[in-house]
């Protein structure tokens, strides 16, 4: 078997999710190539070559890949896919964007967001926001797969010494243009890579009160997240959102503050190793998944927790 992993990168380095995707590829088994596609991304290719277990790094460095538009990336993937039995990408907004497009062009189904590799053609994936797990078998000749990265450990960033080979890039589709990216500005660790996350819900009452969580996050080296209810109420920007429609994360410690625990929020955090819930409503569903529950008014508990750390 031969597997192509489409790497996610910022031109200089790999996004962590790529390393988890490499592990999923290793569980399928076979030679693993990494594709770095972008404009001015040679440095990321050098980083990719160091990843343990990688056979070759394919570098597609071309102005048409600026912004990694789905049309151009999908065409590139299609041009390479014939050499592989499996093509994998992380189930991030990057992978979810181009992968189904490539699958349709190849006339194959995509297996979305696998959480377990059973064999080379059989995988487990969550459905209904993780309320059920489906074991599915694919009959397609090339298997295009996105990977739920929280379910696979990260491959070692170093230890490999893969060769970097340039690959031809198809002409720009001309269908779409990259205008710009307004990256969210935060000095803190990113939600998806943080080992500790503290999230606030509707119980925080307003955006100003989220600063109470900032102080604790700084002490713990944690990221700050939020429930959809808090985002919809305008307390914090949408990229804070943890849940089925936001980010799916699995940190070592997740602290849910004033979050009731709607199904769609639980879908985004219930694989965390240790879950703490702080809520004054003892009936809140969040307590059903919490390892440690504290039934208290967050406006008393949070300042006290801040002092105790």
């Amino acid at each position: 078997m031969s597997i192509l992993v489409i790497a996610e990168h910022d031109n200089a380095s790999l996004v962590g999710a790529t390393l988890n995707t490499v592990t999923a590829a290793q569980q399928i088994g076979g030679d693993i190539d990494l594709l770095i596609a972008g404009n001015g991304c040679a440095e990321a290719a050098q980083a990719a070559a160091q990843v343990a277990g990688v056979n070759r790094v394919l570098l597609a460095d071309d102005p048409s890949l600026e912004g990694q538009l789905a049309e151009n990336v999908a065409n590139l993937v299609v041009s390479l896919a014939g050499n592989y039995t499996h093509v994998l990408a992380a189930a991030t907004t990057f992978g979810k964007n181009f992968m189904p497009r490539a699958a349709a062009l190849l006339d194959v189904s995509q297996i979305s967001e696998i959480s377990e590799v059973v064999s080379a053609d059989t995988f487990v994936r969550p459905v209904y926001a993780g309320n059920a797990m489906a074991k599915v078998q694919s009959s397609d000749s090339i298997k295009l797969i996105t990977v739920r990265t929280t379910k696979f450990d990260a491959a070692a960033e170093t230890g490999g010494s893969a060769a970097v080979e340039a690959v031809a890039v198809a002409a720009d589709s001309g269908l779409s243009r990259f205008v710009g990216l307004a990256a969210s500005e935060s000095e803190r660790v990113e939600l998806t890579s943080a080992s500790i996350v503290i999230s606030g819900g509707r119980g925080m009452q307003n955006g100003e009160n989220f600063h109470m969580l900032d102080s604790i996050a700084d002490k713990l080296g944690a990221a700050v997240g939020a429930s959809r209810a808090a985002v919809d109420a305008g307390f914090v920007p949408n990229d804070y959102q943890v849940g089925q429609t936001g980010k799916v994360i699995a940190p070592d410690l997740y602290i849910a503050v004033g979050i009731s625990g709607a199904i769609q929020h639980l879908a985004g955090m219930k694989d965390s190793k240790t879950i703490v819930a702080i809520n004054k409503d003892s009936e809140a569903p969040i307590f059903q998944v919490a390892d440690y529950g504290l039934i208290a008014d967050l406006f008393d508990a949070i300042p006290e927790l801040d002092k105790a750390l």
Partner: protein
């Protein structure tokens, strides 16, 4: 201009999915069903475009069992002008749905297709991207802002690292995210009016497409349960447990 909007009938998001005892799937017997929440945003956006005078007609499409008519009537009550139902009792994969969708696009020639970014039952997040690929159209996924001008669509996309803006030629397929708009509710008079709006039905078989599934569901299982937790009495006890028992801080 014309907009074609895809809507899917799914289990109500407030209802907990229950795995069937024989592990063949989710038990939907007598379950409350509704329009996929992301599709509600797609319908809302289409109606707002018509209200703004940017487009003239909103056509809603559903591909599924006969009861999908309820979902289409809901779209009509919200403001769609007419609806198309492609009838099939089979549960089709997104690739097959995209092929059916493409056949309807070729009949209707819309300037824009709007779909929800993902259905909350199979959580695939594929149909919009696949449809645009099959049509050779551009795609704009996870849209939180949409502006049409001069034969192009300027779309702000919700991506993991923030907000990305792209500009795509029309016709295009746009898959929408929850923050695009706040869907309205259908008023009772509009619900009544929707009963008389045109709704065309056709059988999937009459379209002559290969819609065979490529995947077999071997079994559907309950997710692994978490071990029961404990209730702590104080912040001090919580910190002590996190330090010495869970060893996470």
């Amino acid at each position: 201009m014309k907009v074609l909007v895809g809507v899917k009938r799914v289990l109500d998001p407030q209802v907990k999915a229950r795995v069937k005892a024989d592990k063949s799937g989710i038990d939907l017997t007598n379950a409350k069903m509704t329009m996929n929440p992301f599709d509600e945003n797609a319908v809302e956006e289409a109606i707002r475009l018509r209200e703004a005078g940017t487009i003239e007609e909103v056509v809603a499409l559903s591909i599924g069992a006969a009861k999908s008519e309820e979902t289409l009537r809901n779209a009509l009550a919200l403001g769609a002008d007419r609806a198309i139902l492609v009838l099939t009792e089979d549960v089709l994969e997104p690739l097959a749905i995209a092929k059916v969708f493409k056949a309807i696009v070729e009949k209707e020639s819309p300037d824009l297709v709007l779909v929800g970014k993902q259905a909350i039952d199979d959580d695939c997040n594929q149909t919009g991207q696949m449809l645009s690929a099959l049509l050779g159209w551009p795609q704009a996924t996870f849209a939180s802002k949409l502006e049409l001008a001069d034969g192009t669509a300027q779309v702000t996309r919700e991506v993991d690292s923030g907000l990305e803006t792209i500009n795509v030629n029309m016709p295009a397929v746009v898959s929408v995210d929850l923050r695009l708009n706040e869907p309205r509710y259908a008023s009772l008079p509009n619900v009544m009016k929707a009963k008389r709006k045109p709704l065309d039905k056709m059988d999937l078989a009459d379209l002559g497409l290969d819609t065979a599934n490529r995947m077999t569901t071997i079994e559907v299982m309950e997710p692994p349960a978490r071990a029961a937790g404990v209730i702590v009495e104080s912040v001090a006890e919580l910190v002590e447990k996190l330090r010495n028992e869970a060893k996470v801080i």
